[in-house]
Symmetry: C2
Amino acid sequence: MNAHAPPNAPRYRTLDMPGILAFLSGLPDLAARLGGTRAQWTIREVSDGNLNNVFVVDGPRGGVCVKQSLPHVRVDPSWKMPLDRTFFEASYLRDIHPLVPGLTTRCLHFDPDLFVLVVESLAGHAVYRTALMSGVDWPRVVPDIATFVARATFGTSVLSEPFERVFDRHAVYARNQTLQRITLDLVLDDPYHDHPRNHWDDVRLDDVVGRIRTSPAVRRAVDALRLRFLTCPQALLHGDLHTGSIMATATDTRVIDGEFAIYGPIGFDCGMFVGNLVLRRFADFSPDAGRRCVAEIARFWDTFVAEFTRLWAAAHPTPSATSGPCAFFVPDADGASPGRTAFVRAVFDDMVGYCAMEIIRRIIGYAHTADFDVIPTHDARTERRRAALSFACGLLDAHGTQGDVEAAFGALVREDVKGF
Amino acid sequence: MNAHAPPNAPRYRTLDMPGILAFLSGLPDLAARLGGTRAQWTIREVSDGNLNNVFVVDGPRGGVCVKQSLPHVRVDPSWKMPLDRTFFEASYLRDIHPLVPGLTTRCLHFDPDLFVLVVESLAGHAVYRTALMSGVDWPRVVPDIATFVARATFGTSVLSEPFERVFDRHAVYARNQTLQRITLDLVLDDPYHDHPRNHWDDVRLDDVVGRIRTSPAVRRAVDALRLRFLTCPQALLHGDLHTGSIMATATDTRVIDGEFAIYGPIGFDCGMFVGNLVLRRFADFSPDAGRRCVAEIARFWDTFVAEFTRLWAAAHPTPSATSGPCAFFVPDADGASPGRTAFVRAVFDDMVGYCAMEIIRRIIGYAHTADFDVIPTHDARTERRRAALSFACGLLDAHGTQGDVEAAFGALVREDVKGF
């Protein structure tokens, strides 16, 4: 019936635009959400990421977003890939939406044969990376993302749930291996040795790449962060929380594209987001870009810590020495909890480390970002990339010794002095 | 057909001794291993642990050991329990036997309907705890267990295998929740607050129990170790590696009873074993028991580190700055690997912490050990238990600051001076 269907998904076929409309018209709840009749619906392709087909369908009453996995990477049909990534994205949305209802989109439907995921449409929202490149200043986004990470991770961890629920969920995402392999290879591994997937377009980056690869301290930090990614399942992560996985307006922030969801260290989500703020800073020539970036990172971290700590205190309020089972790090009588402090500090160290690894892979690895495209000349782009790589190298060289945002990221302000 | 079968195991029935023989006679490979005819086979029950029925069957040619899960705890039929524990034990044996072929038993057969596991019989072996209580000195056991832990954990970790295989296996053992709940509650939680499962038979232990429960440093260490047990899946653990899970002779050591298998911190297996050596020491009145115990712990730790490090070096030999993908902590040119050192140090800290928690739960928790039964008077038993609890409390009070076996366990020698 369908010669192109993978063996383990015999009913799969890639839907074209008329196929999407027919699919939706067969689902009464979704048809009702669109309103009117199928003839009144409009559809447009908005595929933006590397992996999937994405369409927005609008009707007289409302809109939906339809995402379908392809049996290959969208931008490289020779790179074969299993279809299950929309399954993991649907699972992620179902797991975290109750925790962060206003900060992501609701899963409206998932078809396990066609690997089609339907979510709320975000009319009027822009991809945050694109918005940043156009120069917007939307102060809600950074604290919203901090709140998102705090709630989605705390709520899926053993700090808030019986371990049985966490282990059940963990077992599901442990099968999300195709995309974890991508993260492991492209983000955490390839950039640190010769690999044909790496690329950069100017030999003037070679020396800093060499410095990153030969520094014993950097290698040790990279190995430790790679091992932690695989063996530190603190909570359910988004797993790909860069500025292109965020849709925003000046007043509303939504996290999308959760197909990389995995149990891992909380600082991975923090670090990937912050790393993209830093990438943005190095492409920004406005005179106080560094100061603003450090302030944003501080706001992100302070908001995350406040929310995570608030949730923790609410879950385990009893300041008693014999307060019952499975309360972790209940504060002492004086209100202090060195255990919580150590936990949060480890998240900070992870954030700093994964931030640096995100910067590095976005400049010399497989998947670059568009941030530097706004820089007008090749020389200036190379210069800013060199500066970003040097900064990231420094973060890893001193990894674990930076105690706070100022110590880790303060150098970004000093970049302002150089007159960019 | 079988009114007592659990709903999810309709073919299950508890086999009596004739039933076991009939079962084996239906399996040609096992019948051939026993030799002769069914009429020539002998069977005896050897159930020793708390959970399962265990039988040894001997024939003219050889013997097998048959273990069947019951739908309840063997020693407490009112404590209902799912049958799947023999499934996890069979899985564990299949996963680790290739890594430690001479140090455990081979899984010969597993029946997923009856939850019957058949393994090699260990003729002539004694339960190591019982042997220790009778005063044997078998110097092979301690280094054998160290080798067992090193090989079984390294070989099931991402240090030696692609993460995909590790995640697949992890997902299986993440379902072993009934027994993890027991570990979490009975070993890591109950003893640290009031719970009806706790018990000790002398009010003269109350003060040291109070000290354990009210020390902020102890509570912080306990919370951290409990959280690590749930969120630090370094490798596949045995999960219940006390001296009753070891069968030995003077020259042969076998680890049995892997039904608690789970991904967790490697130091958990180390600590449970060492904790039982320490329990034994406090029940031993011979004049140099302390010195011998510290020497045994040092031999365990040194053997573990040597074997784990040897495996690590063999898996990732290249001392190059760009040595390729997913080599963790390859040594620098001078042979040093601070990353490996830090990893092993964390295992040490875990070993010390879980050792202390094993001692404590064996004296004031649900499942005590027989070690102290050899002490003739009630007063002396109480005195030795007090001393063991105080020692364990000290280990947790200083947790993370002891740098080596001497610093952590040296106080055991000083107990000799007190004249026990």
